[in-house]
């Protein structure tokens, strides 16, 4: 009985120690990995991945492609001067272009909006987030649940050319704060329940000696 109390008690104190570490981890603020500001022109009836190239280099394309983990997120602010749909896709841009090229038997750079729709129909799981922007500014922080490639794509099915201003900050978190804090909140009381009989025994023994 005494041995079981000691075993459970030490298990409890270990749980408390781990919970304390998790609490500390959840308190560490995120830090910035990278950022970008700019504008992406999306011609009528086409789609375009977020273009990182500076405005005077706009004919050049430098698409936003990255790898995110559940510890990394992208915080973004998007402003459109018309109605577009913004997507966060869990693939890289090359995958989209390659698919269009292979499946649709059209040049890879065919940015017709229907090509994107076809791609999304074929890969519904690749949509991490989507939102319609109607002459407004939206803010969103995206943190994936797995290690994944990520790209941001704008779809403009309208008959007008639309410019989308973007400002994004890629951030790294020590751990998914809420998840870690919740685990710590659950394990701490369990640890105390397991440890109290053993700690009380220990206290009694010290007092006797």
């Amino acid at each position: 009985m005494k041995r079981w109390t000691a075993l459970l008690g030490r298990g409890g104190t270990v749980l408390i120690a781990i919970s304390l570490a998790l609490f500390l981890v959840s308190l560490i603020p995120p830090w910035q990995l990278g950022s970008g500001d700019g504008i992406t022109e999306v011609p009528a009836g086409t789609f375009s991945p977020l273009n990182n190239a500076p405005p005077f280099f706009q004919p050049l394309k430098s698409y936003y492609d990255t790898v995110l983990t559940p510890q990394q997120g992208v915080q973004m602010e998007l402003t459109a001067n018309g109605t577009i749909t913004a997507y966060i896709l869990e693939v890289n841009t090359q995958t989209i272009f390659n698919w269009i090229s292979e499946q649709q038997q059209v040049p890879a750079q065919d940015l017709n909006v229907t090509r994107l729709e076809e791609f999304l129909q074929a890969h519904p799981n690749s949509i991490g987030w989507q939102q319609e922007i109607n002459k407004e500014t939206i803010e969103h922080t995206y943190i994936p649940t797995k290690v994944t490639n990520v790209t941001i794509v704008y779809s403009n099915p309208s008959s007008e050319n639309i410019g989308v201003n973007h400002s994004y900050r890629q951030k790294s978190f020590i751990a998914p704060g809420n998840k870690v804090r919740n685990i710590a909140l659950w394990t701490t009381p369990i640890g105390f329940i397991l440890a109290i009989p053993w700690l009380a025994n220990l206290w009694k023994q010290r007092k006797q000696h």
């Binding site: 570490a21 500390l24 559940p70 510890q71 990394q72 890289n92 649940t145 751990a175 870690v180």
Partner: protein, 264 residues
Amino acid sequence: MGKGKPFLEVLASAIHEDYRFPFLEVFAFLYALGTFVFASFGVTITAQGGTSEAIVYEAITPLLSIPLFIFIILVFKNIAYGLGSDLEKGIIQTYFSYPLKRRGILTAKLLSALGVALLIFLGIQISALYILAPDIVLPQLDTVLLMYAANLSYPLLIAGIMLLLTLKLRRGGITLVAGIVLYFAMSIISAIATVIAFATESPLALQIISVISPSLALQQYYLGIFDFWTPAFSEVILYTGASYVVVAFVFFLGYTYFSRRLNL
């Protein structure tokens, strides 16, 4: 009295000695903190074009760094100081009065020194992986386990050598220093082997190192740092298996010495 009870008695006594309050708690705290803090440097942009196994490799490598070092310190402390002081103070002789074979006593001591430390290390690491990247642990469990097996074989080899030294010298202090020197010597030896491999454009030196430290072969398999050596997956398994044969042999020597040659 069956053999089980004396074995459990020795095991309980060894655990009590090796993990006095609050040693276990401090190490568990450091494992958890080290795992989460260093995991954040996880997947880099290089994983973008890589296979999912390569992504797993890049995600776990930083996760292992500090906790593995903490694990090694804990194991070294348990073997060098735990077993060393038991030999110095004559506690081992007391165990010999138990109706238990010598190898049973050593197994109980090693289960406490290595087994419990390994259990906590792997428990916290795998749980952390599950919290941070649930998609990694289950679908790529074989890669995850191979990584841990490859990275743990060299620390286990040093633990085996430390066991031999502790039994021979019957002192903890010198053994502890020897263990730490051996651990750091591997990075110097690996650097020398890399220079030789580059100079000769032959992977032989790296292959020899991989027999005792298969993490090098694993790194080469996933990241392909050297052009002149691309080990196949089966080759990595072979290096890992060979390294554990070496580890098993060193522990076998330790058991043989403890059972037959240790005059106490």
